[in-house]
Structures are given as C-alpha cells and as structure tokens.
C-alpha cells in the first residue's frame, strides 16, 4: 500500500565515491539493530574497563594463567560445587519468577513496582557505592568522606527514579540508569570464582530457553498473562530508542495500532513500561498499515484507524516496529533485581531487550577479560553475532524469544576455542613477525 515515498531522484552518481547519491534504502536500514547493539557494546565495554582496573594486581598473563587454572581447580572452585551453585541459582530464579507471575495474576502491581524500586536502589547504593569506593582507592582520586556521603545517595536516588518510572524522565537518562544497574550487577557477578561463573552462564542460558519456550515455563506463563490482559509487565527492560522518522526512510512494516484519535505526532518518542496499557495486536498477520504511533497517552483507544492520507504516510515514519509485530516480552526475575529477560517488541514497537540479557553478556565478556584481551574481542564478536541471529529469528518467528541461549553458547564456544587454539597460533605467528 505504500505508494510513492520520497521521490527517488534520477541517479547520476558523482565521480567521488560516497558523494551526493540519491537517498537509497542503505541510508537507514538496520538502524534499530544498531540502536540495540550500541548500548549492549557500551555495557560490555564499561564492565571490561572496570574489571581491568579493579582486578587484582596479580592478574594473570596468558602464560601464568594457564598454570594457575591448572592448579586452582581444587581450591574450592571445582566443577561439582560450581554446578551445585548454578543449580541453586536457577531454582531460586524459577521460584521468584513464579512468585512474580502469581503477584501479577492477583493484580498486585504496587508490590511489583515496590520490589522493582527496592532492587534498583539496592543495586545502585550497595554495589555502586562499593565499586565507587574501590575505584577511588585504586585510582587514588581525592574525594573526602563527607562529599561522598552527600553525592552517592543523591545520585542513587536520581538514577533509581529514572530507572523505575521512565515516563517522567528523558529517555536518555532512563536508558543510562538501566545501563548503570546492568553494569554494577554484571561486575558483581564477575567476582564469583571462575568455574561457578561459567556454570552459572550455561545454566541461565538453558533456563532461559526452557522458561520462554516450554508451555509451562514461568516466563511464558507471565507473558501469556500479560497478553491476555493487554498490560505491560512492570519490570526493568531496556527499550531501544525509537528511530526518528525524519531521518530515515520508513521502510518498516507497521503493526496495526490504535492511534489516539487525531493525534499524529510522529516525534513522540515514547517509553513503554509500567503505566501504559497497550492494546497489543495479537493478530500475527502482517499488514502494512501506516498508522501514526503512539502518544504517551496510556488510556487510549480501542478503535482501529488506518490513515490513508498519502501525504501523511511519508511523514509518519516513525514508530517503531521495524520488523515484527509487537508482543509484550517476557520476564525473568533475578535474585536481587527485578529484571526482565528476553527480547521482543515493545508496544511502541522498538526492540526490547531485558536487563538480564545485558547483565549476562557483560558477565561473559568480563570473565573473558580476566584472562586476556584476545578472548574479550572474540567473545564480544560472538555475542554480537548471537544477538544478530536472535534478532533475525525474532523477525522470522514474530514472538518473544529468549536472547541468552544463542549468544551465550557462541560466547562460551569462542572463549574455549580462542583459549585453546587461537592464542598459540597468533602468538607463534606474531612473535616471528609473520602476518597474513
């Protein structure tokens, strides 16, 4: 139904490459994926930096690390205790998610939001304060105790409010607060012993797969409840910033949304969580309706209107849902923070990624950073590749999918391969100044 978009100019390419060619689809294609890959990369980068700065002075070089891991296997960090720890963690998370589903079923939303706020404040205050103290002492920054005691609670309060009630703060602050929470939690997880961390990652990936896809799984139950009631689950989810329509071409498929009557503001960048009730479209068929999306008016509209005015079609762009229909995404609860896991589409249509995914990706990369930077680069590429594959599957299947399994599998695989195969090869070649 999309007829003439912006008029394609007759293409006469100028001799300079990259010069004034007419706007093609290449200009803005894939922008929404970049808007998710960017924050994930930033989170991983900050965790790697923190791990490098704060790791113990005797951080292992590639040679000594090989010796150490061989001998440290018996220091209480062996496989069985790691598996037991990981198993216990998964059981706790399952129980907590079922509890959350129960609370959601009884419409006890204040409980959930209170828990969300409490966990955000806890992470920021306790973990954040501890890491700040470690940084201050390691980098020998001059800051006295009184200023610190004044600055920390204020910053924590601001970030916690920004994380918990996104509708009242600018979206950049909300995203920054979520990233701060993810970074702090991920750093704390990297302090676990090595085998425990890897066992935990694998266990969480398997749990994720089961909880979302198996019909009785806790996350699936929660998702179905949310879908039945057309409500958003109150949880900490990162939603990629919606693409500004005026930049790019609106090549996106639209979900049929209900626009609030007469409100055509295409620039409303709307956050999702918490207070909005979205009338999610459960019809899996793809239809190309150009509807202006969203205002932040929650209590809106059950009427379906389709805008057929050609001149508004082009302007509207926006809004979201790049490839798939919006589905509320699934939740997973962490033991100390009320996070959401998994990937799906927000009611505004942008890609939503649960904070738990950020955390576990960063834990994997942080743990790789404790060995060597070559593993960091390899695991980073593997995780981004896995995320890309998950997004492709999301476009294909059009329902909420677990974001952990593919990335964690690839990450662990690449870590093992790099550590065993690649490192020797590259060291051999480059110390002889042989490159290809």
């Amino acid at each position: 139904m999309a007829d003439g978009g912006p008029a394609p100019a007759v293409a006469v390419p100028v001799p300079v490459p990259g010069g004034g060619a007419p706007a093609t689809i290449l200009d803005s294609l894939g922008e929404d994926i970049t808007r998710i890959v960017g924050p994930v990369s930033t989170c991983m980068l900050i965790v790697v930096l923190l791990v490098s700065i704060l790791s113990s002075p005797s951080s292992p070089s590639p040679l000594t690390a090989a010796l150490n891991t061989a001998s440290a296997a018996g220091a209480g960090d062996d496989l069985t205790s790691a598996l037991i720890t990981a198993g216990t963690f998964v059981v706790c998370v399952t129980a907590a998610t079922f509890l959350m589903a129960l609370l959601f079923y009884f419409r006890c939303t204040p409980c959930l939001r209170a828990y969300m706020g409490f966990s955000a404040i806890w992470v920021l205050l306790a973990l954040g304060g501890q890491i700040c103290l470690l940084l201050l002492s390691r980098l020998r920054l001059p800051l006295d105790a009184v200023s610190f005691a004044l600055l920390l609670p204020n910053a924590v309060a601001a970030l916690a409010v920004a994380a918990v009630s996104p509708a009242s703060v600018p979206i950049a602050l909300h995203q920054a607060a979520l990233l701060a929470i993810a970074v702090l939690t991920a750093f704390w997880f990297t302090l676990l012993p090595e085998w425990t961390t890897w066992a935990l990652l694998v266990a969480m990936a398997v749990y994720d797969l089961g909880a979302v896809l198996i019909p009785g799984g806790p996350l699936r139950v929660l998702l179905e409840l949310a879908m039945e009631r057309n409500e958003e689950i109150p949880a900490l989810i990162y939603e990629a910033r919606p693409v500004d329509p005026r930049h790019g071409q609106n090549w996106r498929l639209w979900a049929s949304r209900q626009p609030p009557a007469g409100d055509f503001d295409p620039t409303s960048t709307v956050e999702v969580l918490g207070t909005r009730s979205n009338s999610a479209d459960l019809d899996p068929s793809l239809r190309q309706f150009l509807v202006p999306n969203l205002s932040s008016n929650p209590a809106n509209a059950q009427a379906r209107e389709v805008l057929a005015l050609p001149e508004t079609r082009v302007d509207i762009a926006a809004l979201r849902v790049p490839l798939i229909q919006p589905q509320p995404d699934r939740t997973r609860e962490d033991s100390d923070s009320h996070d959401e896991d998994g990937i799906g589409l927000g009611s505004s249509g942008a890609i939503k990624l649960g904070l738990g995914d950020f955390i576990f990706y960063s834990v994997l990369v942080g743990r790789a950073a404790m060995y060597d930077y070559m593993t960091v680069y390899a695991c980073y590429l593997a995780i981004i590749g896995g995320l890309g594959v998950t997004l492709l599957l999301l476009a294909f299947f059009r329902k909420a999918l677990p974001a952990l399994p593919v990335s964690i599998t690839l990450g662990v695989l690449f870590y093992v391969l790099t550590r065993t195969l690649l490192e020797n090869f590259v060291m051999q070649c480059s110390t002889n100044l042989l490159m290809f």
């Binding site: 390419p13 093609t24 689809i25 994926i33 970049t34 590429l381 981004i384 002889n432 042989l434």
Partner: protein
Amino acid sequence: MTVAAGAGYALIALGPAFSLFAGVIAKKPFLVLTLLSSTLFWLVSLIVLSGIWRGFLPLKSGAWWPYVILILTSVAFQEGVRLVFWRLYKKVEEMLDAFADRIAKPRLCLTDKMLISLAGGLGHGLAHAVFFCLSLLTPAFGQATFYVERCSRMPFFLVSAIISLGFLVIHTFSMIIAFNGYGERKKSDQIFVPVVHLIAAVMTLINLAPGGCLIGTPLLCVMAALTLQYSWRMVGQRLTEHEH
C-alpha cells in the same frame, strides 16, 4: 611500555580504520552491521586455520620452510573465505533489492555496493589489526618494552603496528577490488587480489631473517600503496563509465 606509547602504537595500526569508520561507516547503520559481521567472519576463518595448525605448533624456530607452508595455506584459505563472503553478499544484495522494490525505493546503486564492500574489507582489516597487533599491546603496559632478536632496531610493537597498518589497507581495498572483479567477471581484478595478498604475506617471511624487518616492512607498505592506487584507479574508472 607506557600508556602514551601504547596509545601511539594502537593509533598507528588503527588510525586510518577509525577515520574510515567515523567518516564513512558510522553514518549508515547497515555498514556498521556489515563491518561487524565481516569481522566475525575473519575471526572464524582464523580460528579454523589455528585449529588445522594446532597439531604442528610450536614450530622449530630454526627452520623457515614450515612457515612458508603456514603462510601459503593461510592465504589460500582466506581467499577461499573471501569467495564465500562474496556469495553471501550476493544473497543479501538480492534480498535488499527485492525489499527496495517492495517499498518502491531505488535499488542499490553503485556507490552503495562499493560502500558495502568497503565495510566488508574494513572489517577484515580491523580483525587482522585487533588480533595480531592490539591483543598483544594491551597486556604489555607497564615498564620496559620488548624487542625481538631478529629485529633489534625497533621495538616489537612498533614493527607489528606498521605491519598491521599495511595489512589493514591491503585488506580493505582489496575487498573492493575483489567484489568488483567477481561482479564484473574481470579476470585482472580477480587475479590481482590473491596475488597481492600472497606477495604481502610472503614479504613478512623476510622478517624471519636477522635484520630482515628493516627490508620487509617498508616493502609491505609499498604493497599497500600499490593496492590503494589500483583500487583508486579502478573505482574512478567504474564511476566514470557508470555515469555515461
């Protein structure tokens, strides 16, 4: 080495890559995704190569002929991977064209295709620089630096940074030449790329001789300049003939 020196070496190896990224690639998100996926591709090819050679390492440092075989197999494998990358790219191009038709937008023009091949080549070059040069720099911060016996005039890190720079240029621009050659079926382009890659890799063998790096590294830079010039000429030709 100090942080300042380390940053300097990293910028020698990666400076042009950063400017290309900031100036050309960061503007179009699809190119960023192409860069990431081609980096991943190169990494996978490197891992496969290291898997194949695992049984034969460590090589005795005296003999030089195992290194010749290493270089030959590695270059051959990577050129094969380039062909696979080309096939994938054709499929993606078809999908993009079909998509563009569906939403009534113009198809990919010539500069778009060249930009995609530039991003692909830059991904390969970036992966090379990161894994061969950068990953050895960062653990070495601290006091003192490292010299290799055979190359006692320059610090090891400086030599590896310059070699990485040369290879970055070679990889980036030979991808443009290669894609053009495969697309237009021009034999000269198709032959040029593997030959240049092979010659450049063989030149690093000169580094095995004592004092060889003083000869090998500048020659490598000459190869990089050659690739750059060939690519410039080819692109200029294509664009002018496309205009008419």
